[in-house]
């Protein structure tokens, strides 16, 4: 059986530049509005004023997310057409010949992985650069990251090496879809659901 694949993301290295996101768009020729890999900035904290001086208690970090090729993919569960399906390597893909473009998966996925392409009328999404992998190359986003914050591979290996954390704000409770995602947390990473900060760049997601 093929090993099930996932991403590792080292949050301590990400500066939010989005080279991953645009390299993905370039590789797959995605138009504005269709973004398979997105980067959220999660920020929070408070300021204390004392006369003319100020003291910050501030945190901020980035999370780069494409499809996590979940163990229990909610997109596959809710898809009425079976267009959304999961291969033996765990990679979730959408069959363009079947998808009806109802966008139910878009409502359901807490990672915004399925992205609607208005031109085609179908959902589109990350396939972990299947063509590159077949040539033995890294997915575009992984090869692009200037900080080397992204890697991919058999998720069991990733977990053995980096732990099994996937529940960091603004990501949802991993119990919902069981993402094949391993995060090395930023020093200020907040646990999922803690609500201590907010997504600073919602318009970019």
């Amino acid at each position: 059986m093929a090993a099930e694949l996932g991403f590792h993301f080292d949050q301590t290295l990400c500066n939010g530049c989005k080279a991953c996101s645009v390299a993905c768009k370039d590789k797959h020729d995605l138009p504005v509005g269709v973004t398979w890999r997105r980067v959220a900035e999660y920020s929070g904290g408070t300021w204390q004023r004392d006369g003319n001086t100020v003291v910050p208690n501030v945190f901020s970090y980035y999370t780069s997310i494409a499809c996590n090729h979940c163990e229990d993919p909610i997109c596959v569960r809710v898809c009425p057409t079976t267009a959304m399906s999961q291969g033996p390597d765990g990679v979730v893909t959408v069959d363009q010949d079947v998808c009806v473009g109802c966008r139910y998966c878009e409502w359901a996925c807490p990672y915004s992985a399925p992205q609607f392409d208005a031109e085609a009328g179908h959902m589109t999404k990350c396939d972990l650069c299947a063509d590159y992998r077949s040539e033995g190359k890294d997915p575009a986003c992984v090869a692009a990251c200037p900080s080397r914050a992204l890697s991919y591979g058999p998720v069991e290996e990733l977990r053995a090496e980096h732990g099994d954390l996937a529940g960091v704000e603004p990501l949802p409770d991993p119990a919902i879809t069981r993402p094949r995602l391993v995060i090395t947390p930023h020093r200020d990473a907040q646990p999922s659901g803690s609500g201590t900060g907010s997504v600073a760049n919602p318009e970019e997601l």
Binding site: C17, D26, P31, N52, V54, V55, Q96
Partner: protein, 817 residues
């Protein structure tokens, strides 16, 4: 799977995720900005209608080595994948390592968007002339032939030189192809051959530090490399933000990340913003009011001196002016640095942490702790960024920061540094340019003054170099691959007005790829190829302890009716009777071969042209391991003196002391003052004034943005989507004004108004706004700049010593639009 979309297709779905179920108006701000780049779509030579079509993404038939040439200070490889003569994909370096030695030159987000920069609806397609009878900047054009365009330039050049002299011609400061060699060297070469032109000194990046640092160290010397911080016990990024301003995966961002990750050295970031460097690397963030760095330094010095943490032996041996015992001859008592700090100098103010706290906004205990850490953590690396010198008296700010490594004896040792910006080793590249035979220079920032009142400009009032007074005003400007004609210069509204009057500057030639804000003010507009359509031979810039060279190989034929800089200069040189001298009988390709051959003389192991094609990047590692600034001076100051008059570090600069008595500031502003010591000088629209200015109580600075290099890449749709223009403001300031995140706001002062969405964030200190610099100036009919260009808010008034751009010194107000 079927492919999805090309650039010309309508915007899919359009609305971002979280808002796709909100009111359609709520996303309006973003949508407006996404459209901004294509706002000149009706021009004859511009627009999506006749844009070249892109092919869908594909691996292509071949991949050629090319590079991103913009002025970020990094230099990344791009591998352009081509199919049927079209770019189909942009890759990056796939050679090199994942360590500090020879890292892979992974391009940042901008390089990755290169395809949309080349095939951009804003591309200039054919030479154009401002329609006769219309105002400059009105945006009305006529297509003309290359022949006519170059004839006009040749004859106008001859006329201007004849009527106004050689120095009435100005080759504008520009950095859009800063990384190019042949690309950026052609025009200066041709104009130099044609008798030369009024020169400039300084740059919009570093005018103040480039000018001021030599008074302390004899030259502008970069500090130790970031890689050298592996020897440090404390690292301080003082207004320095390599993780954001130098985002290359083979440059200083990567070096800083690797050093921190592997060595976990305690790191402090001092910055009004919680920058990406703070976010990634800082153990402590100290927010500081913009422009008050010299006050913080003085207070730290006070702690160091009173707690006996200074390196007295270093100061006695290597420096002039620290204490009264080490002053130059003939200087009045009480003029030493120590006297200034302890309040026994002319101003009588003791520079206590309490004093600095009120100015900088930093609590007293934080200042004391910072000073003690610097004093005890030897070696300590202090690297200063360039933002703190782009201030109304930025010269003193940057010289002040250099005081801390001097006081603690950290100069010239591993793990320390000289307090300038992080250093790098340079590649000895043979260049194509030619020295300007004219030696008269103005500050790069004073060209608008030189148009308006050139004949009045003098050495002692305006910093004219090469002669005491200019002969006359600028009458002809050639602006090649630059946006300082308006966008990157201060006070866009005032600049626009100046340029509209074509009786002042009589001819403006702009050579560009895209219809930038500056291109709009051209009389003759020449469409240039991008580097995807050109050959070149280039080298690394600020890359730390690895230097490298690359070839830029033409990937596609010139689009539309564009020409390379080389080809248009050859044609123009022919019309000027200079073809022989210009080409020296070589084609562009032969020039490249020649430059590679010349470089090989200095670097015998350099790749051949074919090896460059096969192997990509040629790297040189620092033979000394990591770069240490002024190491020889530290080891033997007598044998290896600095280039200051005393040969030592001049804490007190006698040259500045003399100059302060001669230079004039008639009609100047508060803070127009030269000081021999790096003192804190309160300035116009500075932090102190902000506390009492009720009309404009907020300081406004401009950070470098990830979606642009200055203004380069400013019209690329993918980047506008990824990094939309927003103004950063603190949660508390926003709450006081009823502003929520992503609300559209107006930021304004007496100079202008910009309109853009707000990023309400705790990541910037209260009382400070930051507008990412470089967004394209787009005034609406009421003059409101909806592009959100910070220079609609900035002032022409130069800094006192270097006459540089004080573009982070601004007071403004903000309100919901």
């Amino acid at each position: 799977m079927t492919t999805v979309g090309t650039q010309e297709k309508p915007q899919a779905a359009g609305l971002p995720r979280r808002s796709f179920l909100k009111w359609s108006g709520a996303a309006g701000g973003g949508a407006v900005l996404v459209g901004a780049g294509a706002s000149f779509g009706l021009l004859p030579g511009v627009g999506a209608a006749n844009a070249a079509r892109m092919s869908p993404a594909d691996s292509g038939d071949k991949a050629v080595w090319n590079a991103c040439l913009v002025n970020c200070g990094s230099r990344c490889a791009l591998r352009l994948h081509v199919k049927d003569g079209t770019l189909v994909k942009v890759g990056t370096d796939d050679t090199g390592s994942d360590g500090l030695d020879g890292p892979q030159l992974r391009a940042c987000v901008r390089g990755r968007s290169f395809r949309h920069r080349v095939y951009n609806p804003d591309r200039l397609k054919t030479p154009m002339r401002r329609k006769p009878g219309t105002k400059r900047g009105a945006g009305e054009w006529e297509e003309i032939s290359w022949d006519e365009a170059l004839d006009t330039i040749a004859s106008e050049h001859a006329r201007v030189v004849k009527e106004h002299g050689q120095e009435a011609v100005y080759l504008q400061y520009a950095s859009g192809t800063a990384g190019g060699n042949i690309t950026s060297g052609c025009w200066s070469r041709l104009l130099s051959l044609a008798g030369g032109y009024l020169g400039y000194y300084g740059s919009y990046s570093t005018s103040q530090i480039t000018y001021a640092m030599p008074f302390t160290y004899g030259a502008r010397i970069e500090s130790n490399s970031i890689g050298d911080t592996v020897h440090s016990n404390l690292v301080i990024y003082w207004g320095d933000n390599p993780v954001e301003t130098r985002m290359s995966g083979g440059g200083n961002m990567y070096n800083a990340q690797v050093a921190k990750k592997d060595f976990k050295t305690r790191t402090i970031v001092i910055d009004p913003r919680y920058s990406e460097t703070a976010l990634d690397l800082a153990d402590q963030w100290i927010p500081i009011r913009p422009g008050t760095d010299a006050a913080l330094v003085a207070a730290c010095a006070h702690v160091l001196i009173t707690e006996d943490l200074v390196d007295q032996e270093f100061l006695d041996t290597y420096c002039v002016g620290y204490d009264e015992e080490h002053m130059p001859e003939g200087i009045p008592a009480g003029s030493s640095y120590k006297s200034y700090i302890l309040g026994t100098g002319p101003d009588g103010t003791v520079k206590t942490p309490e004093w600095a706290s009120e100015i900088t906004g930093i609590p007293v205990d934080v200042i004391i702790q910072l000073a003690r850490e610097i004093g005890t953590a030897k070696p300590c690396a202090i690297m200063q960024g360039w933002g703190l010198q782009r201030q109304a008296n930025g010269e003193n700010n940057c010289r002040a920061v250099m005081m801390l490594p001097i006081l603690t004896g950290n100069v010239g040792i591993h793990g320390g540094g000289n307090g300038s910006r992080e250093g790098t080793i340079k590649f000895p590249l043979a260049r194509m340019g030619l020295a300007n035979p004219i030696k008269t220079k103005i500050s790069c920032f004073m060209w608008t003054d030189a148009i308006e009142r050139g004949a009045e400009m003098t050495e002692i009032a305006d910093g004219v170099q090469g002669k005491p007074q200019l002969d006359g005003p600028i009458k002809m400007i050639i602006n090649v691959a630059g946006n300082a004609m308006i966008n990157q210069h201060s006070d866009t509204t005032r600049t626009a007005k100046l340029l509209e009057d074509d009786s002042l500057c009589e001819l403006i030639v702009v050579v560009e790829n895209h219809m930038t804000s500056s291109a709009r003010y051209a009389d003759i507009l020449l469409p240039a190829t991008t580097n995807a359509e050109e050959d070149d031979f280039i080298a690394s810039e600020y890359s730390g302890d690895t230097a490298y060279a690359m070839i830029v190989d033409k990937a596609i034929e010139p689009l539309y009716d564009t020409k390379s800089h080389f080809d248009m200069c050859v044609d123009l040189s022919r019309k000027m009777g200079l073809e022989e001298e210009f080409t020296e009988g070589r084609t562009l390709q032969e020039w490249r071969t020649e430059l590679i051959a010349r470089t090989k003389k200095d670097v015998p192991s350099l790749y051949s042209e074919q090896e460059f094609r096969d192997k990509g990047v040629f790297r040189l590692s620092n033979p000394d391991g990591t770069f240490v600034a002024s190491k020889a001076f530290r080891e033997d100051p007598v044998a290896n003196p600095l280039t200051t008059p005393s040969g030592k570090i001049e804490i007190f600069s006698e040259r500045l002391w003399e100059r302060s008595k001669v230079w004039t500031f008639d009609g100047g502003k508060k803070g127009d003052k030269l000081t021999a010591l790096p003192e804190h000088v309160p300035t116009w629209e500075g932090a102190e004034e902000a506390l009492t200015n009720e009309k404009y109580p907020l300081q406004c600075i401009g950070h470098h943005y990830k979606g642009r290099t200055h203004s380069s890449y400013g019209s690329v749709d993918w980047l506008i989507e990824a990094h939309p223009q927003v103004v950063w403001m603190n949660t508390l300031d926003a709450r006081d004004r009823g502003i929520d995140n992503d609300d559209v706001v107006r930021v304004f002062n007496d100079r202008g108004v910009i309109q853009l969405p707000a990023r309400v964030t705790p990541r910037i200190m209260p009382g400070v706004l930051s507008v990412p610099q470089g967004a394209w100036y787009s005034p609406d009919k009421d003059g409101v700049d909806t592009g959100g260009c910070i220079n609609t808010l900035t002032d022409w008034h130069p800094s006192p010593l270097s006459k540089g751009n004080p573009q982070h010194t601004n007071l403004v107000q903000v309100e919901k639009a």
